[in-house]
Amino acid sequence: MMLRRILITGNEAMAEGAIRAGCRFYYGYPITPQNEVPEYMSRRMSEVGGVFIQAESELAAINMVLGSAAAGMRAMTSSSSPGISLKMEGISYLAGCQLPAVIANVQRGGPGLGGIGASQADYFQATKGGGHGDYHLIVLAPSNVQEMADLATLAFDLADRYRNPVMILADAQVGQMMEPLLWQEYAPPPDLPAKDWALTGTNGRPKRVIKSLFLAAGALEKHNILLQEKYARIREKEVRCEETSAADAQLVLVAYGCSARMAKELVRRGVKGGRIGLLRPITLWPFPEKRIRELAEAGKDFLVVEMSAGQMLEDVRLAVEGRSRVGFYGRMGGGVVTIGEMAGKAEEMLAGGKRNR
């Protein structure tokens, strides 16, 4: 594959990234602002010998993903907030059955039918569960078009490594914008475990069963303990974040996705009254809590910037555990954070103003 730079939308970059990662099974249902993904997949899957189905519902789509994942294939679906709510049943089953699969949420505003503008209000749903039961998705948060592609390929590797569903938590801005993208060579990591659980037909081997029902006394608790041990390994090994001048800052902005783009620009411009930096989580689960705690112990305050009523804010507070001040600046319902308002909030905190929230 030639390395070449192209101009492409985030949604299409993610779709092509998935195909380059070997995803040959895509099932989806139209919903704005992610329609570029199924449209792209409907074209490309036939070119690469893959399967594209426009399902009758989000429920059907996620369960088609479950089927192809159970058969050992790299499979994906995408949607936007209201559609992701519908997929939550299937996502809980994927987690319970320990099936690797990739789900992309190009977030829009809610609750309910909401709007079609960019939003980050599905953070709780993505990182705390969303579906029923004690489970976690690995949640990746792309902040630009390059990451839409790169994190799509990473998502499939992580899913296969841990036999766990992975969510790409994007938003309408990152999905719809066009930016230059440089295609990287991709090869699956050589140490990925063999799919010795996949349904292929026994062909002489003992039968395999994919299930999430454990009725025998104690069996479900044992299964849950096994899942929690896996989540502990993921917390240990897979935290990813990017820092911009955070180590030298007095106030560290914490932002992901489209909000982090604005925050990064503010860090570049600087504010009055002190030094600011940025910590941008790339994995929202596992969350970079250790690093945030280290920065808190080094005496830094935090300003969480999100397009929600304050969801990631709770994880930052949990990481800080009262060691330093945690402020919040957010917009809701498709409202977009602005650099001006963010600067005002940062300057207020640096001036030692009132404790925020």
Binding site: A60, N63, A70, E89, C97, L199, N203, G204, V209, L213
Partner: protein
Amino acid sequence: MIREYRRPAALEDAVTHYCPGCGHGIVHRLIAEIIDEMDLAGRTIGIAPVGCAVLAYDYFKFDVCEAPHGRTPAVATGIKRARPECLVFSYQGDGDLAAIGTAEIIHTANRGENISVIFVNNAVYGMTGGQMAPTTPDGVKTTTSPRGRDPLNEGHPIKVAELLANFERVVYSTRVSLSSPKNVREARRAIKKTFQTQLDRRGFSIVEILSPCPTYWHMAPEAALKYIDEVMAKVFPPGVFRDWEK
């Protein structure tokens, strides 16, 4: 010629959780016998529903995937598209297929997915304790229709085999019954035909099987078989509603 009656190789040597007189044991056995006969155990993937038959994977000796309630045909679609060389069948009850999973079964049929559907219709929710099913006949009392199913409130029972026969890409849709040895043999022929239809890559096929549930019909097993002929078969007449051969 010596013919022995023995456990099919495609069935585990297991005691099932099914109630005495339940039809699932017969249907499991028929499927296993046919898989043995057609030598398909090594390339079969079944999909177990939510309902009494969710534990089918404890009894079948081939690969099985569990599906969320009603999503069975969607899971079957994902598996069949990934493993077209395998025999893929969904095993579904009336709640799974005709209530919570109506969208999935209709669209899977309409796409003509090359899968086989084994639809066990016993007109009641068994696993949850005898509630009204979409196929419960008019006037029948269940724990959620204590005065009998009232069509003005609950509608009439849904006739799945006739309904799915309307879709152009459905190549075989039939209804059989387990009420007598003769009818069980007929059911066996129908199941074998859906499997052969799939192996021949003809498209979507379904066998609806009228099956006894003595426990929640509140009758002895023998009376339940009689009830199939006298009540169930009047509402759901056995027959072939679509057949690629005709």
